[in-house]
Symmetry: C2
Subunit: 495 residues, 2 copies
């Protein structure tokens, strides 16, 4: 494929000079429009060594308003980044709406490097490409405009370029990718071709740029960027809607049936007060030791709590965290997002709370809001919540691959029990604030919620990140069941 | 002083049990009121080893709603924390409005530890205490309720406690502060007394707690916390106003005079086009090499740009950053704060942008807004902007102590030149968006701004973080002057 970038394309000095003023004015104007558009722009630059990625990015920074751009080189992995899943460092750098992020390599660096050196085999590189495709698709569908530039030089030109660079005092700062060793040209280009082909999508296209002539290279990148931003801002309504729909998972008819996984939960289980006390204390003691052990082993946990209103999430979380040293856990109540969170992809607010090694994050409600309340209340469009299942599975899988234990609890109560608890809340002065009109409204939509829960469990209960449906008609039973489940998973993991 | 905490205070089991329900209900209620109050609560726990700080904090977590509390232990310093000024890790952990932060030791840990081992001498510990007093005062005056608990045990009890702990399997996880070595009791208590006395203020009081009896210890802490929160929320209007005023710096009469430092700026300086081009390119090349060198040396820079509307901040920053590799710098346009920023102290949003080793952050407007626009427009109360000078100096000093180069530029133009530029903007289509009604209004307040600028320069131009007043009547002159100034400072620092 790279023959297409060995054609000797050039731009003369005067052509370049003539083109520049309009191009720069265009970029400035586009950036101004971008600011309030709700769209973020992600530009990834890749290519063979010596191709001048730094030069291009510096040129773009000179032409753009740097107050709206952020450049990320992803050099050294910090200890905090090391203690989080692989993509955490990219998530924390993603540009907010209205901004342009210029990324060197980003998620491509690792597969390209390790593929070239042979550290990763073909299958592993393919797997990485699949993950990348998913990520980019997900971002693109939520208002990120993605442009990927691959800069190409033929082998001889690369050689000359690197030689010339050695003699240029200004260039002595440019870094080699692989320590001091030059990557093998043929191997790198080969892996590059594989990766490009696997990740070149309509939502996140690659642009192959012939980089022999810097003027051609820089002009072409800037023009491509300008055109893409302008087209995106000119487009009416959300883009790519057809593709969204064509990729939406089809739903089986059975889903509409009234019988759900919830009907299989045995709500009759209970614990009397004295057995409860004993088992709770025992489970908490066990949990305390296990969580310290997990800390020493560097194993983090993510615990998700979802459930019907008044099912007892708060009380259960309290008993759970009472069994974990306060220095090890953090409870994240998931309410309305902050404006920084709103300016990013909906998973960004959860990525930023992913625990570092040995820590435990307890989510009181979670990313499952997307396929529960947002789905049922119509706050997310159908194609949004439909693809969320895959997005969520991928997110959780990344946590698991990093060694994080993921467990999800649905606290289940019957309609009658919920009513009884609502009534009790109405009558208890200090609990009245816990009952809102919304709670009553949600109750009316129970069938819709049941269908949504059923599909959620069906699609997202995986071996590595299972759902436990907790019979919570009896609060005591539920609390003990949850803590014991966490203990069992920790024990299995720590063995 | 610790005799006051060796009196054998105790709470019987039944007393404890009787007191608990009301106390817990009170805490829950207080926490609910706190949520929307705009106040954040910071609890610091300190004391001799074996005193059960972890137990107390766990107990509090059990009694409080953990969804509104955050516990921070400050164990290992991450590489990112290492690459930032000392207090960065505390700033990033500070509780937002409505939340309670439970801090183990926080900024006390280091002076106590290093003072005890003798690594820091008395003067150094004193200096640390002074900095702490300043920080706590600053937080307290901006809606943080600070409570500091010092838990005391006499030497014999400590010995017994540590011995018993060794045999208790549940306690094997508690950590020693100083690796495996027990800190010398007498030395620790001695330094503790010094530090307590130096940092015990009305705004951030120490509570000395006798910790021999865990029930007494925990009840007393919870009661003190409850009382403090309740009193604070019951108080009408901002608290401590008297103290604010009594500590406000007195302003010399001369400040009101019309003659300011700005009148000494020679606005006649200029550069013709050809000399400008040459000197600009030369300065940028010099800057590029210096900034790479600074990166290799791990020296970060903070560059602040303030100036009159239309003085040319944007254009100057563009020329400056054109001389710095995009991978090394970041431009932060300071506009309206996000809601997460609003939920913290006004310096928090700047602390979070402090560059890591070898990086450069360029602030397009800055924390000086407090003593400029907020002062002149009455957005900050007099006692707020008055004490800001000291707060800002202390902030910048912390950056400098970490080896960060701090430089501040005021771009100065005459009233006439500003008018000419406003007019030109009105007439140029693509520049019209840069001119707002506010710009015209600000112009009318020029005398007030001049007085504010004068005082700002007088109070905050320090040797380590100087102001440069840049004659900007001629944009070319200003741009070159700024870049050359940065180069000179970098050269001096890197030598």
């Amino acid at each position: 494929m790279f023959e297409a970038a060995e054609l000797g394309r050039k731009v003369s000095k005067s052509e370049y000079k003539d083109a520049l003023p309009a191009l720069r004015a265009g970029l400035t104007e586009a950036q101004q429009r971008l600011r309030d558009s709700g769209v973020s722009v992600l530009v990834i630059v890749e290519g063979v060594e010596g191709v001048g990625r730094g030069e291009v990015v510096n040129r773009l920074n000179g032409w753009l308003d740097t107050r709206g751009t952020e450049t990320h080189a992803f050099w050294d992995v910090s200890s905090e980044e090391q203690s989080h899943p692989r993509y955490w460092r990219y998530w924390r750098s993603l540009p907010a709406r209205g901004k342009i992020g210029l990324f060197f390599g980003a998620w491509y660096s690792e597969p390209l490097m390790r593929g070239t050196t042979g550290e990763w085999d073909g299958a592993r590189v393919e797997a990485a490409a699949t993950r990348i495709r998913d990520l980019e698709r997900m971002l693109a569908l939520e208002d990120t405009l993605i442009l990927k530039f691959w800069f190409h030089l033929d082998k001889d030109t690369q050689k000359q370029r690197l030689k010339a660079r050695k003699q240029d005092p200004d260039s002595r700062w440019s870094r080699r990718r692989n320590g001091d060793k030059l990557l093998d040209y043929k191997a790198f280009v080969g892996i590059g071709e594989t990766v490009i082909q696997a990740t070149d999508t309509a939502l996140a296209p690659w642009y192959l740029i012939e980089a022999t002539d810097p003027r051609y290279r820089d002009l072409t990148v800037a023009r491509t960027l300008l055109k893409a931003i302008t087209e995106r801002l000119d487009a009416e309504g959300p883009v790519h809607r057809e593709e969204m729909l064509s990729h939406a998972p089809s739903l089986p008819e059975a889903e509409e049936a009234r019988l759900t996984v919830l009907d299989q939960v045995d709500l009759g289980q209970s614990l009397d007060k004295s057995r409860y006390k004993k088992r709770l204390e025992e489970a908490q003691r066990r949990l305390r030791a296990l969580t310290w052990k997990a800390r020493d082993a560097g194993r983090a946990s993510v615990l998700v709590f979802e459930g019907w209103d008044a099912a007892g999430k708060g009380g259960t979380i309290r008993r759970l965290t009472a069994g974990i040293d306060a220095r090890l856990h953090r409870v994240i109540p998931v309410g309305a997002p902050t404006d920084e969170e709103l300016a990013h992809h909906y998973l960004w607010r959860f990525w930023r709370q992913v625990p570092g090694s040995g820590r435990i994050t307890v989510f009181d409600r979670s990313w499952y809001g997307r396929v529960l309340v947002e789905r049922v209340e119509g706050l997310a469009r159908a194609e949004q919540w439909r693809r969320a299942f895959h997005e969520i599975n991928d997110f959780e899988q990344q946590l698991c691959e990093h060694g994080i234990l993921v467990h999800k609890f649905w606290l289940h109560i019957s309609e009658a029990e919920q009513l009884a608890r609502f009534r009790a809340r109405e009558e208890t002065a200090y609990k009245q604030h816990k009952l809102t009109d919304e709670d009553w409204r949600n109750r009316e939509k129970r069938p819709e919620y049941e269908a949504a829960i059923n599909e959620m469990v069906f699609r997202t209960s995986t071996e590595h990140a299972p759902w436990t449906l907790v019979p919570s008609e009896d609060k005591r039973f539920a609390r003990v069941a949850v803590i014991e489940t966490v203990c069992e998973r920790l024990e299995a993991v720590l063995d």
